[in-house]
């Protein structure tokens, strides 16, 4: 177990190192300079600016400084957002994004489990068909389309929730729904397939023969056993939520990481792009590692050290 963990952490660090290196050199490969009107600047001004940002040093030294800074959380200074350190920008915005992501995950997974179980228990009835249609639609309708529709019809027309901005819980409801529908549909399909499988197995027959109630069977036997494979979906969900947050936060103007990422892409704010890129990669790598560990703990049938070979 320990050997496996060490190996995984090593690969994790290797991945992040590669991402950092690739990002850094791609930035340096770009044509042009960071200064918007270099023609008007004197040679002395450029020299002073270069010294200030450390751009006069050789490339390898800049690279080492960049890597060294990253080790203690220094991601450089933003070109755009009034020269604030990138780490500060991220820290001040991560709360909203994290809250939204966690809420959407809980909303999607819990409701998905409920819908999936209902579909599996009522297999091949109209309830099952309805749930299947809903999950196909949920999977197919892009979350940004849904977000705009929710914003217009529920917030503007009906006035049930605030249209945009970030305040109390009521501000989070619509973005959470828009963001969570994707995971919801995926979970429902997954749980339905898994539970239909479990419901056909021998121990369910035994439980039925013992005279257990229908809900007892679903709750005690079927659900628990079909939940385990769901853990493997946490990684893909995290990616979906990160991607989704960019566009949902923009539509609902929520001050989060995703919204800032889009802004920094559109304004060529390279240090911020690099910072958020590293944050996203680190987040995903950590989530993948965590899910593998959790999977090994809750389902002892899976050998961690094996890894397929």
């Amino acid at each position: 177990m320990r050997k496996y963990l060490l190996k995984r952490v090593f690969y994790m660090i290797l991945t992040l190192f590669l991402v950092a290196t690739i990002t850094f050199f791609l930035m340096k490969l770009m044509p042009g300079t960071p200064y918007s009107n270099q023609q008007k600047m004197t040679a002395q001004q450029i020299q002073i600016m270069n010294e200030q940002y450390g751009l006069n040093k050789p490339m390898w030294m800049q690279y080492l400084i960049y890597l060294g800074g990253m080790l203690h959380g220094d991601l450089g200074v933003s070109f755009q957002f009034s020269n604030q350190p990138v780490s500060y920008l991220i820290a001040s915005r991560i709360g909203a994004s994290a809250q939204l992501g966690i809420q959407a995950m809980i909303f999607g997974v819990v409701l998905g489990i409920v819908i999936g179980s209902i579909a599996a228990v009522n297999k091949n009835t109209w309830i099952d068909t309805l749930c299947t249609i809903l999950s196909i639609i949920g999977k197919s309708v892009p979350n940004f389309v849904l977000a705009v529709l929710l914003q217009f019809y529920i917030a503007l027309k009906l006035g049930w929730f605030p249209i945009a901005d970030w305040g109390g819980f009521s501000y989070t409801v619509l973005p959470t729904i828009a963001l969570g529908v994707g995971p919801l549909a995926e979970t429902a399909r997954f749980i339905r397939t898994g539970m239909v499988d479990v419901l056909n197995s021998d121990y369910i027959e035994l439980a039925k023969a013992k005279g257990m109630s229908r809900y007892g069977i679903v709750w005690h036997h079927a659900l628990r056993n079909s939940l385990i494979p769901l853990v493997t979906l946490i990684g893909p969900y995290t990616v979906a939520l990160m991607t989704g947050s960019m566009v949902i936060e923009n539509i609902f103007s929520i001050p989060g990481i995703g919204e800032q990422f889009v802004k920094s892409i559109l304004t060529n704010d390279y240090p911020t792009i690099m910072g958020v890129t590293m944050l996203f990669s680190a987040g995903l790598v950590a989530v993948i590692l965590l899910t593998d560990i959790i999977y090994g703990i809750i389902d002892p049938r899976i050998r961690l050290s094996g890894s397929g070979d």
Binding site: T23, M30, I137, I265, G308
Partner: protein, 341 residues
């Protein structure tokens, strides 16, 4: 003690000839793998309708290439800007050139002095472009992206998976670690990096898809190849001295075909969504080109007053996604009846 039975030919009776043949008769016609899958797919109504919709969309969008090209996309006609849909002979509000303005249906075509014989089936956008033309062009972009993703899935993904599974050992180990690293970088990050190096547009989207889309396929193909490798017929082919290339092509690929088809059908909707998403936030396709994502973004700005500008592209995009998802499910059931429940 032992009584011998005296049996002569006269004790036996010949069975009628026809009955004899019937016993050996095969009731169903023999079907190849593809025919069998097609037969099962035809029984699935949703998948069949989806298949027809996709074929129609492909024909319309690619067939439109001579009529809707770069020239017709740049040409704007501000005098026809923001006209709602008008189909002659359809007296339904919203499709007859009328638009709801502060609660009342107003004939926009009359108000803007549009000639009687001029009409736009799906209305126009803020520059007077025909929305129908733009949607067809956008659908073409989505389908091209789908095609590119499929291409990389089929070439890179399948080849990588087979080589990794077939060679095994150290080669496999290294190849799997590479996949692990690629797939732990969010594809969004890859796109952004591509956007920084190349300029926003089709090239960077395709590059990003080329890098990130094939890893799942490669993993599944590898796992299946590992199993197929130990099958008797592969062993026989090896013993007879068949070259690995020929084994891969003649024995592995045909047996992997169901996985390949199913996995491709899952890659396509993801790729279409990805393009629409990038264009929607403004880092994908850019003017004068257009795509469903760009149209959605434009339409969203005026949604309160000109809802049709967002609804039409949204409906087309959703129909496209639903069709591919349903067809994917149908193909999975058709090629792999074991998973069907």
């Amino acid at each position: 003690m032992e009584e011998k039975l005296k049996l002569g030919p006269e004790n036996f009776e010949a069975l009628p000839k026809a009955e004899e043949l019937d016993n050996e008769k095969i009731a169903a016609p023999s079907l190849t793998f593809v025919q069998d899958a097609w037969r099962r797919l035809k029984m699935n109504k949703g998948a069949l309708i989806s298949f027809i919709i996709i074929v129609l969309m492909i024909i319309i969008s690619f067939g439109s290439t001579p009529f809707i090209n770069h020239d017709s996309l740049v040409k704007s006609a501000p005098k026809y800007a923001n006209l709602p849909a008008k189909i002659p002979g359809v007296p339904i509000n919203g499709l007859n050139g009328k638009l709801k303005v502060s609660g009342e249906w107003v004939d926009e075509y009359k108000q803007n002095n549009v000639p009687d014989n001029k009409y736009f089936v799906l209305g126009t956008d803020y520059l007077g472009h025909s929305l129908a033309e733009r949607i067809i062009y956008g659908t073409k972009i989505s389908l091209i992206v789908a095609l590119v993703a499929t291409f990389f899935d089929l070439t890179l993904g399948v080849a990588y998976g087979i080589v990794s599974g077939w060679r095994g050992g150290r080669v496999d180990n290294v190849m799997q670690r590479i996949i692990e690293i690629i797939s732990s970088i969010p594809s969004l990050v890859i796109v952004v990096l591509m956007l920084i190096v190349l300029k926003p547009g089709m090239t960077s989207i395709i590059a990003a898809i080329a890098i990130s889309s094939w890893t799942t396929m490669a993993r599944m193909i590898r796992a299946e190849t590992l199993q197929l490798k130990s099958q008797e017929y592969v062993l026989a082919a090896r013993t007879l001295g068949e070259s690995p290339w020929k084994i891969a092509w003649k024995h592995l690929v045909p047996n992997l075909s169901s996985i390949i088809i199913i996995q491709t059908m899952y890659t396509i909707p993801t790729a279409i969504f990805f393009e629409a998403f990038l264009s929607f936030i403004g880092i994908g396709i850019s003017a004068p080109q257009t795509s469903l994502g760009v149209l959605l973004n434009d339409g969203q700005k005026n949604f309160q007053f000109l809802p049709y500008q967002m609804w039409y592209p949204a409906i087309v995009l959703c129909v496209l996604m639903i069709a591919f998802n349903l067809l994917g499910d149908g193909l999975r059931d058709a090629f792999d009846p074991k998973t069907r429940r």
